[in-house]
């Protein structure tokens, strides 16, 4: 008899910190350089070379931990994780093990309207490995440009109960890290990736089942698919009376299935011990407070403020707070036109501006400037141009430094709000379309759209539809 199982999921996320140089040497962290060009004796693991901790990395790590509501541990220790692999030049990875610099955080996620708080066990610093490139003829090449790049590993509590929750959690972590300026959120380049621990237990059971670790998942879609595939696999095993083996598996997006990488017996004994080359990391109160200040508003705080104080809808607040660049742009426009209803800025940004926005890590490039948008929305708000015209003007100024005002003047796009001109147009239309007039009088208000449309056509869109509607209503009722 098939039973119902409850999935228990915890994620371990690796996020690259946005430092100019590596965690323990001065080499650049630039992505995309020729292989083995960002290297030195330290990150090549040459004999005699020693690590020196990058203070900037510590600061960004602290900021990440604070943003994830973790407490900061004043004295933490770097440890060596020992294993052999060609992309690991020293034969060990410098990481944190027994005493990480932060612990006990949490994060709120929302899935299908249900809110949930997920625990974070710890956040620790570590260095990234290099990259093995498997070439032709069985030869493998090693590129150590990435070796020594600073990472934070964010270890989540096994609090997630579905693949959708896992994806929401991964997204929320990404958004927060990008927001506070510590990560570029670039999953394709591997600067944000995760491992997922998945186990099943009969619904109602409180002890955990045997967990399987899914390695190196680098997209939100794959995390969901990988976990679903693993849940399906484990369900078949348990339903058949079998036992899930503790092991590490990988997800193949092609087949949609997970496959075993190594069993528990084959698992490495990493022989962690404190790295004698590095003194304990001491993170003082002053540094913590500086990073707390540098952190600024988190996405959730921005959303709450926008909804509560500016009257934005939840959906608009959600969309516009996806990237710190969007928030800066929105707030920048708002500051230039303080009298304008924030909702109007939000609407125009959602429908027009975001379409032309290109996100590149921490940076967003917009097709217009804050000033151009502020000027355009002022014209719209004053009724100088119609909403339709605003879109046209937007399209005209995109990618240029032209002022919307100048474009409007140049093209004679000012709204025809001369009541006399509009009235004569409308009277003419009413006379030629008595049937439609009757319908309006009979209460079919939607027919008004026909007349408004005709006027807009006749004025080539330069009439203000609001004014037209009002005038039409007046004329229809009086005649």
């Amino acid at each position: 008899m098939a039973r119902t199982y409850e999935p228990v999921i915890g994620l371990e996320i690796h996020a690259q910190l946005l430092t100019a140089s590596k965690l323990f040497c001065g080499c650049s962290t630039d992505f995309g350089k020729p292989p083995n060009s960002n290297v030195c004796p330290v990150c090549l693991g040459l004999p005699g070379a020693l690590p020196v901790l990058n203070e900037r990395a510590v600061r960004l790590a602290v900021r990440a931990a604070l943003a994830l509501n973790c407490s900061i541990v004043e004295t933490s220790i770097f440890a060596r994780k020992n294993y052999f692999y060609p992309d690991l030049p020293k034969g060990y990875q410098i990481s944190q093990y027994e005493l990480p610099f932060s612990e006990k955080g949490w994060l709120d996620i929302e899935v299908e309207g249900r809110k949930k708080r997920a625990g974070i066990t710890r956040v620790h610093m570590e260095e990234d490995a290099g990259k093995n490139v498997h070439g032709r003829g069985g030869d493998s090449l090693v590129d150590l440009n990435r070796a020594g790049t600073p990472l934070v590993e964010i270890v989540g509590e096994p609090d997630l109960r579905s693949s959708a929750e896992a994806a929401a959690y991964m997204r929320a972590v990404r958004d927060i890290l990008v927001f506070v300026g510590v990560n570029d959120g670039n999953l394709e380049e591997g600067s944000f990736r995760c491992d997922a621990n998945v186990s099943l237990r009969p619904l109602g059971e409180t002890t955990f089942g045997t967990r399987v670790e899914l390695k190196n998942i680098n997209s939100f879609r794959f995390v969901q698919r990988a976990i679903d595939a693993e849940i399906a696999r484990q369900t078949v095993i348990l339903d058949g009376g079998g036992q899930v083996l503790q092991e590490t598996r990988s997800f193949d997006p092609e087949s949609g299935k997970t496959a075993s990488l190594r069993s528990k017996e084959e698992a490495h004994d990493y022989r962690y011990f404190p790295d004698p080359d590095l003194p304990p990391v001491v993170i003082g109160e002053a540094l913590v407070e500086e990073e707390r200040a540098a952190m600024g508003e988190l996405p959730s705080q921005v959303r709450r403020r926008w909804v509560d104080e500016l009257g934005l809808t939840e959906a608009a607040a959600q969309t516009l707070s996806q990237h710190p660049g969007y928030v800066r742009f929105f707030e920048g426009v708002r500051a230039q036109v303080p009298g304008l209803e924030p909702k109007k800025i939000a609407n125009f940004m959602q429908t027009e501006v975001l379409r032309g926005a290109v996100v590149q890590g921490q940076r967003v490039s917009f097709s217009v400037s804050e000033g151009q948008l502020a000027e355009l929305l002022t014209l719209l708000d004053a009724g100088t141009i119609s909403g339709k015209q605003a879109k046209e003007v937007f399209a005209l100024v995109e990618g240029t430094d032209q002022s919307p005002k100048a474009v409007v003047a140049e093209r004679g796009m000012e709204v025809v709000s001369d009541a006399g001109e509009l009235e004569s147009l409308l009277r003419d239309l009413i006379a030629r379309n008595p049937k439609q007039v009757e319908s309006i009088r009979a209460g079919k208000k939607q027919v008004m759209g026909f007349f408004v449309g005709q006027v807009m056509k006749a004025t080539q869109g330069s009439a203000d539809p609001k004014v037209v509607s009002e005038l039409l209503e007046k004329l229809v009722t009086e005649s």
Partner: protein, 499 residues
Amino acid sequence: MTQSLLSLSVTELAERVRGGAVPAVEIADQSLRAIRERSDLNAFCHVAEESALAAARRLDEQRRGGRPLGKLAGVPIALKDALCTHDQPTSCGSRMLLRSGDDGREHGWRSPYDATVVERLRAEGALLVGKANMDEFAMGSSSETCVYGPTRNPWDPERIPGGSSGGSAVAVAARLTSAALGSDTGGSIRQPAAHCGVVGVKPTYGRVSRYGLVAFASSLDQVGPMARDVRGAARVLEVIAGHDPKDSTSADVPVGDYEAACERGVSGLRFGVPAEYFGDGLDPSIRAAIEGVIAKIEAAGCTVTPVSLPHTDYGVATYYILATAEASSNLARFDGVRFGKRVEAPGADLQAMYGASRNAGFGREVKRRILLGTYVLSAGYYDAYYAKAQRVRTLIRQDFDRVFQDVDVLITPTSPTVAFRIGERLDDPLAMYMADVYTLPASLAGIPGISVPCGLTTVQDGRDSSPELPIGVQLLCPMFEEERLFAAAAGVEELVRAT
């Protein structure tokens, strides 16, 4: 030309070169010739003839140009082969760092950079004449495990010079150079200094940069000087000591005036004699020599007090857990991938390449220590060995803290025996490890120590008695009290010479 220049002390030689009395080229010449003539001692694995002569010529030009010369101008110095040099090969006494060159011969690894201590020596005008032999990866007390064969003691070529910095000690003792750098993890400077009759200093942990020293046990390794007199060692230490931003464990503590401290002598110092360093296993002639020194110190008006360091007995066990643990990790980078030995059977996989390369590259003692260290760090054993040894290390450190409340300097033998015969302990690792019984505790505590020659003795060697062999007395001080250490050592040196 006679070889008399190499009989001069470091300080005398440097002053003559600075004053223009002696051209540096002449010194370089004499040193290089001496190294060639005594190649039987096997003290050097690489002689840097051209670069040493070039450096000497530059010095002489500099002097003729009226520009000031450094504190070690024209002083020939041997570097232990564990120190990275950009212009000389570095092999750490191991086959692991050799690779076949285009000429079909094996060559040592070429470091792209200089160790910080090497940079500092160059900046002060030292002539770096070559790389000195050592036990493979500094693991040994006899300099026999070197890939280039055993180094011989100039007092008796049938005997070991001590180790692991044996080549450095021999270079100084045989007057091939005026000074040398060694590295000391558990006694590797002090013990060979004692066996070769020279002065050897293990500075406070953190006093000297480790950047560019091929790591054996990172929490214990220190680079230090060897010279024929205390003052020479003091000058070399002054040059190499001091904070290095490239080594996070180097201390930002000001370097003292060590040479000036040598003028102070022993007066006013309170000496302590730890009972645990005079127990079973101590050669009676060494005991007598140390007691002789103690008598002279007392006669000079110093107080000498018996003290106790109760955890001394645990030193060897503690050391061989911690040092091997760190070594097993430090030596992981020698994997055949980026440099050094690589052995690949056709079609063999990655694991096979690792295994074959490391099997061919490492010698027996190194393998033994990697295995030991891997074991003590393994899951399920970590607490019983590594974690426990760390706690014992704290106890050993506290022993010293306690006695240094009452005394200024500890005086002990450096080694329980004089130099033993080549081959005698190679198959008995425990006997080999006991050679460092008196030097290990200071390494574990991180405190500075020095070995000063204090006499000669002969030992019965079958039916014959050996040639005269040197004895060293060890002095120990609290962390960063190198000035006091040099004052005491120079005082003891003077009292010994006065006899």
